[in-house]
């Protein structure tokens, strides 16, 4: 018999309250710090993307299900939400606007229940293939039924239908706080899901579906229910985006959108619960800011994704957690100098490479604007050898230095990890 203290010991988890409090606080004060209309737009979109990426990761990271068509559930949620909004605007449906995202969620759930019944019959690669097929199917439908999907122009609506308690959702800030509340509640709910019997069995199904069947669970139902829960949250995210943009076009159910969820969830880190939150923030930064900044943004995104898959498959979240582990053993200090050197040489590589990419794009696309272009405050001439030579020099020297620093760092990192392992063994022996 185990001593009771081992399983009854539930410390008052200060750390967790602190993290959640901080999360709420950031969402609360962010619009007070970033007040421009661009940052307001981005903040609202971040909230929406956070719900979407977390819901997507319920399948990818927690269930090992790679869905290539998950935008379908957010997109269909958006469509049902905007149609509901139009019913409300026309006075045919007495429903507060603040509940319309929930309508999106319910329809997301319904669609996931219907389509997921087929999808979740299989796991692994067949699952991925079926989701791809279902995604294409819905995309094709969006062109076939312009009545519901609105054809080329999409369906538009107006979220200002009157005001309750002085809130009309006319000003962006009111909508922001609605989205912030939804984002916080959905994040808490999805985190809670990971702490339930089904949430844990979903991890088990990810790790070893065969064994799950021998401890009494039908893996198909585990996948199916998780798929529906995920569809519900995707739908909420879609409903919020319908309210935010006041227009829904067929693009929301496209494979491109599904790909974005996959790419950024992965970048953020599918292994940890909070990874997709980082991914969602990056998604909005990339889609809104980076795309404004440079024509070559998709190229950069692709490169970052490729390097991430190759060198840090756990995403940014795992990089953070690895360093937190080192820090918790008090060994982060000596690594900081290396990080600084890595960042410096990495930046040189980046500047050199980016200059070449930008000049190439300029040559290809903006020839009419002359041979001069500005890059990071400097003026480059795409027809002068100096500019090209400078960029190549920067790249090559940067690469060489980076490689030197990287080798040193790898040795250092390996030693640190060994020290930590030894320390753990020592503590275990003492325990």
């Amino acid at each position: 018999m185990a001593s009771r203290s081992t399983y009854d010991f539930k410390p008052y988890n200060v750390g967790r309250w602190l993290v959640w409090g901080l999360y709420a606080l950031v969402m609360l004060v962010a619009p007070l710090l970033f007040t421009s209309s661009l940052s307001m737009t981005m903040l609202t979109q971040m909230g929406i993307a956070i719900i979407g990426c977390l819901a997507f990761n319920m399948l990818l990271g927690q269930g090992g299900m790679l869905s290539f068509g998950h935008a379908v559930y957010a997109g269909l949620g958006s469509y049902f939400a905007i149609h509901t909004l139009n019913l409300v605007s026309a006075g045919n449906l007495p429903l507060p606007v603040s509940l319309i995202p929930l309508v999106g969620g319910l329809f997301g759930l319904l669609c996931a229940a219907l389509l997921g019944y087929v999808t979740t019959k299989k796991a692994g690669t067949p699952f991925a293939m079926i989701t791809l097929g279902v995604g294409e199917l819905v995309w094709a439908m969006s062109l076939m039924f312009p009545g519901f999907f609105g054809g080329e122009g999409g369906i538009s609506g107006n979220r200002v239908t009157g005001s309750t308690l002085g809130i009309s959702y006319g000003p962006q800030i009111e909508l922001y706080y609605l989205i912030a509340i939804y984002t916080f509640v959905c994040t808490v709910a999805m985190f809670a899901f990971t702490r339930t019997p089904l949430g844990r069995m979903l991890n088990a199904v990810r790790d070893n579906p065969e064994r799950v069947e021998f401890v009494g669970y039908n893996t198909r139902y585990v996948r199916y229910i998780a798929f529906m829960v995920s569809g519900f949250f995707m739908g909420i995210s879609g409903g919020l985006s319908a309210l935010n943009f006041e227009i829904v076009t067929a693009e929301v159910v496209s494979a491109v959108r599904s790909g974005a969820y996959l790419l950024f969830t992965f970048l953020g880190g599918a292994v940890f619960f909070f990874g997709p939150i980082i991914g969602a923030v990056l998604m909005v930064l990339a889609l809104v800011l980076l795309s404004e900044l440079t024509l070559a943004w998709l190229l950069y995104l692709g490169l970052v994704f490729t390097f991430m898959v190759m060198y840090a498959p756990g995403g940014i979240a795992s990089l953070i957690m690895m360093n937190l582990r080192v820090a918790s053993f008090g060994k982060l200090g000596p690594l900081l100098a290396s990080y600084l050197a890595l960042a410096g040489t990495g930046a040189a590589v980046l500047v050199g490479a980016a200059a070449m990419v930008e000049m190439t794009y300029h040559l290809q696309l903006n020839q009419a604007m002359g041979s001069e272009m500005s890059f990071m405050g400097a003026t480059l001439n795409t027809h002068s050898l100096d500019s090209w030579f400078g960029a190549v020099f920067m790249l090559v020297v940067g690469l060489a230095l980076f490689e030197l620093v990287r080798r040193h760092f790898l040795v250092q990192w390996g030693q640190t990890q060994e020290e930590i392992e030894r320390e753990i063994k020592r503590r275990e022996a003492l325990a």
Partner: protein
């Protein structure tokens, strides 16, 4: 393996096997149903083919409740296949399987698991990225009625947590509570494999070479552990190591070429001339040699068994 030399005349030994099999069933039928008791596990003329190859050729066996049976036989006799059929991993080509009188052949593994049969695997089959504790908790959730609940917290699942902790202490894995299954040593993984099997409280337990790949000293300790955690249950084990067989089982079923040619007490099986001729003579010699030569041979047998099983 050395035992294959005794199998050089398959035709004759098969004919012998068939006779022995008839004897075995009649003996077991007389033993098991003295007062009309329902056997815990019963196989009737079970057959399984993969393509044109028939692996299980009319195996019949009746195991009474609480009996502890070791299934032995040369490599390729179909021992693992037999377990896969009973536990629902494969459906049989023909024949019937009963669990407590309920027909289970061709049913899904999760159904059979819910009816009270649990099995372990020859190659550890764990939830690799979950901790030891989580592995065990996953193994008890269904049997405690949590099903697909996502409206309850695991932290409040007191009975499940308590059960997982108990099993973890029995396995002496409590010091590794939060280690991921993939980071455990081989012996720890074998222990966790057994833990997942027995945690759900199944009445019928199938262990597929529980000590495969372990050193002799580890094996000794492990047999004690298995006896402790399976006390009072109906137990079927597949085992190559004769030391383990005699340590765990009161009865031995001999499987040769997909048929049960004998099913009796160790002494009776050892004395059975057909078994001696077909199989046991050489194996028991090897088993005794094992006991003397110690760890190396045991590990070797396990390694061979693993290779043969896959």
């Amino acid at each position: 393996m050395s035992t294959m030399s005794t199998m050089s005349t398959p035709d004759r030994s098969q004919a012998d096997a068939r006779n022995a099999h008839q004897q075995a069933t009649s003996v077991s039928a007389a033993q098991v149903k003295p007062a009309g008791a329902v056997p815990a596990v019963e196989l009737r003329d079970l057959r399984k083919s993969f393509g044109k190859t028939e692996i299980i050729r009319g195996a019949s066996l009746s195991v009474a409740r609480g009996e502890r049976v070791a299934i032995i036989g040369p490599n390729g006799a179909g021992k693992s296949t037999l377990f896969n059929l009973i536990s629902g991993r494969f459906g049989p080509t023909s024949g019937e399987i009963f669990l407590d009188g309920r027909r289970i052949d061709g049913r899904k593994p999760y159904e059979i698991s819910r009816w009270g049969l649990a099995r372990s695997f020859q190659v550890s089959n764990l939830f690799t990225r979950l901790s030891v504790f989580e592995n065990l908790r996953c193994a008890v959730l269904w049997s405690l009625g949590y099903r697909y609940a996502f409206w309850k917290f695991l932290a409040d699942a007191r009975d499940a947590n308590q059960r997982a902790e108990e099993v973890m202490h029995k396995l002496k894995l409590h010091k590794r509570r939060d280690a991921l299954a993939m980071n455990l040593t081989y012996a720890e993984q074998r222990a966790l494999e057994i833990g997942i099997t027995i945690a759900g409280g199944a009445e019928v337990i199938l262990l597929d070479e529980p000590t495969a790949g372990m050193s002799k000293s580890e094996t000794q300790r492990f047999i004690g552990l298995i006896r402790e955690v399976t006390a009072g249950k109906t137990l079927l084990t597949v085992e190559h190591d004769m030391g383990v067989v005699f340590g765990l089982a009161d009865k031995i079923a001999v499987l040769v070429y997909g048929e049960v040619i004998a099913f009796d007490t160790p002494e009776a099986v050892r004395a059975n001339p057909r078994v001696q001729e077909a199989y046991l003579g050489s194996i028991s010699g090897e088993g005794q040699a094992d006991a003397q030569t110690g760890a190396r041979t045991g590990a070797q047998t396990g390694a061979q068994a693993t290779a043969a099983g896959h």
